[in-house]
Symmetry: C2
Subunit: 258 residues, 2 copies
Amino acid sequence: MGRTLGLILALLSAPIVLIAADWNILYQKGKQPKHGVEFNLKNYCESWRMNVELHNIREFEVVPEECADYIGKYMNSVQYKVDSERAIEECTVFLSTSCSLKRDGRDAWIFDVDDTLLSTVPYFKKHRSGGEKLNLTSLEEWMSNAKAPALDHTRKLFNELKERGVQIILVSSRREHLRSATIDNLVDVGFYGWTSLILRDPSDEGKAVQKYKADTRKQLIDQGYRIWGIVGDQWSSIEGLPSAKRTFKLPNPMYYVS
Amino acid sequence: MGRTLGLILALLSAPIVLIAADWNILYQKGKQPKHGVEFNLKNYCESWRMNVELHNIREFEVVPEECADYIGKYMNSVQYKVDSERAIEECTVFLSTSCSLKRDGRDAWIFDVDDTLLSTVPYFKKHRSGGEKLNLTSLEEWMSNAKAPALDHTRKLFNELKERGVQIILVSSRREHLRSATIDNLVDVGFYGWTSLILRDPSDEGKAVQKYKADTRKQLIDQGYRIWGIVGDQWSSIEGLPSAKRTFKLPNPMYYVS
C-alpha cells in the first residue's frame, strides 16, 4: 500500500505548491480565500502538521517550503516536549494497568531509535527542519558522529521498563554500517541494557520500512516474545501485522518514512 | 483490545486530576514545574488534544474539565475547519490519483455520520464541549430533532464521489430507532443519493463499535464491494479488519467511541 501511495507525492506536490501560493497571497494581503474559510499561513501549516500526525498526509518528501519555519519552531518548542511527554505518560499508564508481565524474559517492548530515543532535531535545524530534500549521505555522516541528544521523556520509560524486567528491543531503519556509532551514541546519552538492536542489513534495504519492521516483529514473536508496546515517531513503525498489544506514536512532522 | 483498555480510563482519571491540579497551580502562580519543562494550561490541553488524535489517549469518558473551554474554542475555530478541509483534500487527491474505479456499481466509499457528515458541535456546545459526561438519552433526543448542520467540506467529497459513480455507504453507530430522523436530517442539509445507511440494530448493541463497523465492512466485501476509502472522526471507524484501501481520520477531540 505504502508503495502505491508513493505515487501520490509526486502528484501532490503540484497542488500543494499551488495552494500554498494562494495561502501566501492571502496571508500577505488578507484577501477572502476561495475555500470559504478565512485562514492564514499558521492555520495552513498547523493543519498540515495535524494531518501528518493523523496519517492523512502520507509519503511526503519534504515539509512544504512555506511551513519549514513553522515546523522548525514546533520542533524546538515547549509544545513538542509536552506533546511527546504526554505520549510517554500514556505508555506508563498502560504499563502499570494493562500489562500482566510474566517476567520470564519474554516480555518485550519495541522502540524506534531516531526521534524516539535520540533526537535528529540538531541535524534538521541545519536543513530547514525538513524543508530541504533529505540527503541520506549527509544524514548518515551526522549519525556517524554519534552526537545526537537523548529524548529525556523516552529515557524515563526505557529505564522503567528495564527495572520491571521487560526486554527492550530497538528496531531501527538505520543501516548496519552505523551499528557502532549508534551504540556509542545511545550509551553516551544514557541508553544501555537493551536486549537487541536490530538495524537494516543490505538484504532489508529493498523492503519498505513498514514491512521490514513488521517482519522483524514476526521473528520476535516466533522466538517467543510477547510484544506489549511499540513506541515510534513514524506510522511505519506501528502499522502492519503482527502488531503489539498497544502502539504509541510520538509526534514528528519533519520527515516521513514509509 | 478496546474492552481491555476500557479499564484504563477509570484508573487514569485519578492521575489526570492530580496532574491537572499541578498544572493549574503552575499556570496561576508561574512556578517551575516538577516535570522539567515549563508549560501552561494551553500547552497541556493542546497536548491532550494531539494525543487523542494520535490515538495515544484512548477510552476517555469526558474531556478533562480544565480543557473543556479550550476544546470548545477549537471546535468552533477556523483551525478545526482548516484541519478538516485538509483531511478531505487528501481524500480528493487519493481519489484522483490512486483509485482505479471500475464503475460497475461495486466501487464503494464509507462515511461515518456524526462529525463526519453532520456536526454535533451545536449539541456539545451546550454540554461543555465534551467536558460533561455523555447522556445518551439527551443526545438521542437532540438527534431526533434532525437539526444537525452539515459539514460542508465532507459534502463536497460526498458529491464528488456520487458524480464519479462511487457507491456511498453510511455506517453509523446511531441506533435503528433514529433512522427516519437521520434520513430527514441528512437530506435536509444536502446529503442524498447514498446507496445504504447502516445503523446499529439491537443485536449489534452488545458489540464494541469498532467490531460492529469491521463486521459491516466484511459483509459489504462479501457482497462484492471494493471499499476504496473510509472517512470517520473516530479511530473505531477506521481500525480493525477488513479495512479499506485508504482511511482518513477527521479531527474530533470531543468524545471517544471504542
